[in-house]
């Protein structure tokens, strides 16, 4: 039962890592560069959720606050791409890496100036409540996180597999030039991907804040861990990102329980190193060779 208990809490954490890793992969596929501000977008989404939901702030119901936060972050992502990142469209990947690192600093600074540096947590209707399934005790928060992740990823799956825009996003990530020839407005599609990653970051952020406290620098460490998860899954694969996130989430509590103190902090990176050595493309790498 101990193992099962650890597994449930690991999966719940892993879902949040997975969602954040999903954000990394979305951007990587659209812009072919890593968005190092992804973790800070999660933090921003979390603070927006707190601003919309907590009593003393806007005091809105949880679901409405979550939706509003996702909406604002979606618009934020779209505008970020439209007015900041499109300026370096076609430049080497390096330019975007540096730009997003700088953006991360800006977002952290702005959040600190607005909301202060003390940890805050989100007030939810299910805080502190648990479900008892036999001898297994599941915090309602964990159940909500898992269900929300399942719902979100299923929606994303159908969007990418079965809608015109979703397939067009796949097409432009697989061959941008050909997509351009087909009349797919590649730049606008990229902006929509950024909006989508903003939405995913906001939802992950609100779920994160429901489980623990947030402060402006939380996105940094969390973002790096989620990046490791994305690399484990194979940067460029959406199911891989989720799987990588779950793996990292599950490994952590087990390492904390059964291995010497401190090893839970390095466990995700050890896992990443192992994957990179044994399967350099990541667990779910998409490999294609162009036929001549």
């Amino acid at each position: 039962m101990d193992i099962l208990q650890l597994l449930v809490s690991g999966i719940a954490n892993g879902c949040i890592y997975g969602l954040l890793a999903l954000g990394f992969v979305l951007i990587y596929k659209a812009s072919e560069a890593v968005n190092f501000a992804q973790g800070d977008m999660l933090m921003l989404g979390a603070f927006l959720g707190i601003a919309f939901i907590n009593t003393g702030n806007a005091d809105l119901p949880f679901l409405i606050g979550l939706t509003l936060s996702a909406l604002v972050m979606g618009i934020f992502g779209y505008l970020l791409d439209r007015f900041v990142l499109r300026g370096i469209f076609g430049q080497p990947q390096f330019a975007m890496v540096i730009l997003t690192i700088a953006l991360g600093f800006l977002i952290r600074f702005a959040a600190g100036a607005i909301w202060g540096h003390d940890p805050v947590s989100l007030q939810t209707p299910f805080a502190g409540r648990t479900l008892e399934l036999g001898s297994l005790i599941v915090p309602v928060v964990d159940a909500v996180i898992i269900l929300a992740t399942v719902a979100l990823t299923t929606t994303l799956y159908f969007f990418f597999a079965h809608t015109r825009l979703g397939v067009a996003m796949q097409a432009s990530s697989q061959n941008q030039m050909a997509a351009y020839y087909m009349g797919i407005p590649v730049k606008r599609v990229n902006s929509i991907v950024w909006a989508l990653s903003g939405v995913v970051a906001a939802i992950a952020g609100v779920l994160f804040a429901a489980k623990g406290a947030v402060e402006p620098s939380v996105g940094l460490l969390f973002g790096i861990k989620a990046f490791a998860a994305a690399v484990i899954g194979g940067l460029g694969s959406l199911p891989g990102a989720l799987a990588g996130g779950l793996l990292v989430g599950i490994v952590e509590p087990f390492a904390a329980r059964y291995l010497p103190a401190g090893s839970s902090q390095i466990a995700p990176y050890v896992l990443m190193l192992l994957v990179l050595i044994l399967r350099p493309g990541g667990l779910f790498a998409q490999i294609s060779q162009k036929k001549v």
Binding site: M177, Y180, Y181
Partner: protein, 264 residues
């Protein structure tokens, strides 16, 4: 200039395009009459692909103008031009490797909204290329080179173009497949009324297919004429078809002086 339509579907005038720092087109003028197949011949680096990219809107010209159905289109984006009826089938096929054959075709129709018509056109593409119907659920990246070329042409058809830019469709294909693809290109021209601008290194098959041809060298048109005229021209025979100008006489004796192109 024997065959020259009164108003061409595509009219390119004095086009100059830079490819990075290189001036790839140095004042190119061509005309493509409606319903015809026009080919551009030329060696590597002559500027053929740059010409195609400029016409389809992927590159903006530095100087000159392009008219399509009498309207200026130079500098417009590809998504606008696809809607107006120009489809670009790029060199090297460039299919979407992780999308199925059917999804690739759907992407060709991205600018269209009429669902029933789109599925009818997918059927039409499958009728021209039956192998694609068999493989419709398969990822395009797993197709053979020839099948990918068929898919690329089919995908180009899906926007219902009146002008199709075909860039090097014979690239990397076996001679038999080349014949097959060009036979279908001719059928598309006759049955669907698609005007075709064809870029080729394989001068032989291109001139057999086309009505009219241009020869592009280092960014300039150096020769133009009906396909028949070009096929019989000594320069084309010598430098693009690899046939000696006078095969009956003693080849060794004539080769002592390397023939020069007449346009140099």
């Amino acid at each position: 200039m024997t065959v020259r339509a009164i108003s061409a579907l595509l009219d390119v005038r004095n086009l100059e395009t830079f490819y990075g720092p290189v001036m790839a087109l140095r004042g190119v003028s061509i005309e493509v009459p409606e319903g015809s197949i026009v080919t551009i011949l030329g060696a590597n680096g002559a500027g053929k692909t740059t010409l195609m990219k400029t016409v389809s809107g992927a590159l903006a010209p530095h100087k000159g103008n392009i008219q399509f159905r009498g309207q200026r289109i130079d500098g417009l984006e590809p998504d606008v031009l696809v809607k107006r009826g120009i489809a670009h089938v790029p060199e090297g096929r460039e299919v979407f490797p992780f999308l199925s054959v059917a999804e690739n075709l759907m992407m060709g129709a991205y600018t269209r909204r009429d669902r029933t018509e789109i599925s009818r056109d997918i059927d039409m593409v499958y009728d021209y290329f039956p192998i694609l119907r068999e493989r419709r659920q398969q990822n395009a990246g797993t197709l053979s080179g020839g099948q990918q070329q068929m898919l690329a042409i089919g995908r180009g058809l899906m926007s219902r173009p009146s002008l199709m830019l075909l860039d090097e469709p014979s690239l990397g294909l076996s001679p038999l497949l080349v014949q097959e693809i060009f036979a279908i290109v001719r059928r598309l021209n006759q049955e669907q009324g698609v005007t075709i601008l064809l870029v080729e290194q394989n001068a032989h098959v291109a001139l057999q297919t086309a009505d009219y041809g241009y020869v592009l060298e280092t960014g300039r048109i150096v020769m133009a004429g009906s396909a028949e005229k070009l096929l019989n021209s000594d320069d084309i025979r010598e430098f693009y078809l690899g046939q000696s100008a006078d095969q009956d006489s003693d080849a060794r004796a004539d080769k002592r002086w390397k023939r020069k192109k007449t346009w140099r």
